[in-house]
Structures are given as C-alpha cells and as structure tokens.
C-alpha cells in the first residue's frame, strides 16, 4: 500500500468531517479471518449458482450436472465443519431464502423470533450465535 495515497485519503476525510483522523494497520484476528473466509466461500457458491442459471437462461446450456459433484463436495465439507444443524441453515440461505419474485423468506430462531438474514456476514453472525464453537 502506498503511504502517500493513504495520506491523501486521510486528508480527504479530515476535510469532509472536520477531524484529525488516523490511518492504522490492524492485524486481523483469527475470528475475523474465519469470518472473511466463510463470506468468500458463500459468495463463491452463489456465483456458481448464478453462472449456472445465466448459462441455462441465455444459452440453454445445462451446467447443473457438471457442477453437481463440486457442489456435493462443498456440501459434504460444510456438513463436516458445521454439522447437520449448521449445514441446514447454510443450505436454507443458499437455496430457499430467495423467492422467485426477489422477496426474502425470514428464518425463525428457537424462540420463534423471525430473523432477517440478507448477507453471508449476517449468516455467519447467526451461525456463531447459535453455536459459538463454529468460531473457535
């Protein structure tokens, strides 16, 4: 990272907010790294599914069978790490959360409260709140 550019960003923020800000390098914790890895995995799976749909809709190419062994392997690894309960929630997020009209189905927690999960980051928060061992 170029030091001069960081100073320019800092200078811009100081002007906008009338403050003296600081730019600091922070080491990411293990927990943060795990969270980022999880988000990147979920984003990648979503991209694979989107690619599958686009190929089918636009080019009539059915990649579902081609992708299936990869997705099955990923599913198995998810079950391996998160167990059945965690894998079910992840499966719900990937396959059942979105309705065809674009609306989002909420999920209920153990007390019957509806929880809105809109992003992989929120999914991660729910997973570790239901089972903190996922983050250890």
């Amino acid at each position: 990272m170029m030091e001069r550019e960081l100073t320019e960003i800092q200078y811009a923020i100081n002007n906008i907010l009338n403050v003296k800000s600081l730019v600091r390098r922070k080491k990411k914790s293990q927990s943060e790294k795990r969270r980022e890895l999880f988000i990147s995995i979920i984003n990648s799976i979503e991209q694979i599914v989107t690619r599958q749909n686009v190929m089918y809709m636009d080019l009539q190419l059915d990649f579902a069978k081609y992708d299936e062994p990869f997705l099955d392997t990923i599913d198995a690894l998810i079950i391996f790490y998160f167990g059945k309960e965690g894998a079910e929630l992840i499966g719900w997020y990937l396959w059942e959360r979105l309705n065809p009209d674009g609306t989002i189905n909420p999920v209920e927690d153990e007390n019957g409260n509806e929880i809105a999960i809109n992003t992989p980051a929120e999914l991660w928060s729910v997973l570790i709140s239901t089972n903190p061992k996922y983050d250890q």
Binding site: E8, I9, I16, R25
Partner: protein, 121 residues
C-alpha cells in the same frame, strides 16, 4: 424482526489507488454516502463499547483502517448532520443530535469526576 447488532467494518474500495489525490475524493458521492452512513454507526458503537477510536472503514483490502479519535467524534457527527440536512433526513439529524448530547454528557461527567477527585488526599 430481530436485528443483528454487531457492525461489520466496511471496505472502501479506491480504484485505482495509485496516484490518488485528496481533491479527487472530497466531492465523490459514493465516499460521501459511505461517510454519512458509516461514521455515526462507528461512533455509536465505539461510544457504547467505551472505546477511544471509532473505525470508519478499511482502505481496500489492505488491513489499513481509518479511525477517528474520541476528541473528534462530535465534530464528525456535526458534519454528518450537515450531510443529512442536504438530503432533508431530519429524523437522522435528530438521532445524531441526541448522540452528540449523550457523548457531551458523558465527557462532562468524566471531567467532573476528575475534578472532584483533585481535592481528595
């Protein structure tokens, strides 16, 4: 609906970053929006957690974070109020004003406690 409370520190992506000038950024609408929305959230979270710095965003994926020290939180919130006034988001202005008052109250208490303690031997 149950809302998830822990804030995810956003990433501001500056592309290309090489040769970037502050003057390119001060009028950038995306950056202004990010600042307007994220600064109050960062300050509120830091204030509640009794932190001395509020982290606004990470610069790209660099691991460098932009922090605002506690002494400048009120200034930053006042500037956010100005940004919200342009958009006529009066409810948000009121919320930010209340947050400023809360921060001021806490600082006064801290100063008073320090002052009260001075005469004790």
């Amino acid at each position: 609906m149950v809302m998830l409370t822990k804030r995810t520190i956003p990433r501001a992506i500056f592309e290309p970053i090489i040769g970037l000038q502050a003057s390119d950024l001060t009028g950038n609408e995306i950056l202004l929006n990010l600042i307007k929305n994220e600064t109050p959230l960062a300050i509120e979270e830091a204030f509640k957690a009794k932190k001395t710095f509020a982290t606004i965003f990470e610069v790209n994926t660099s691991g460098y974070f932009l922090d605002i020290p506690k002494t400048y939180w009120i200034n930053a919130l006042q500037e956010c109020i100005k940004l919200n006034l342009i958009e006529e988001s009066y409810e948000e202005c009121l919320r930010l004003n209340n947050l400023i008052e809360e921060i001021k109250k806490t600082s006064k208490k801290t100063i008073k406690q320090k002052h009260d303690g001075e005469g004790i031997d």
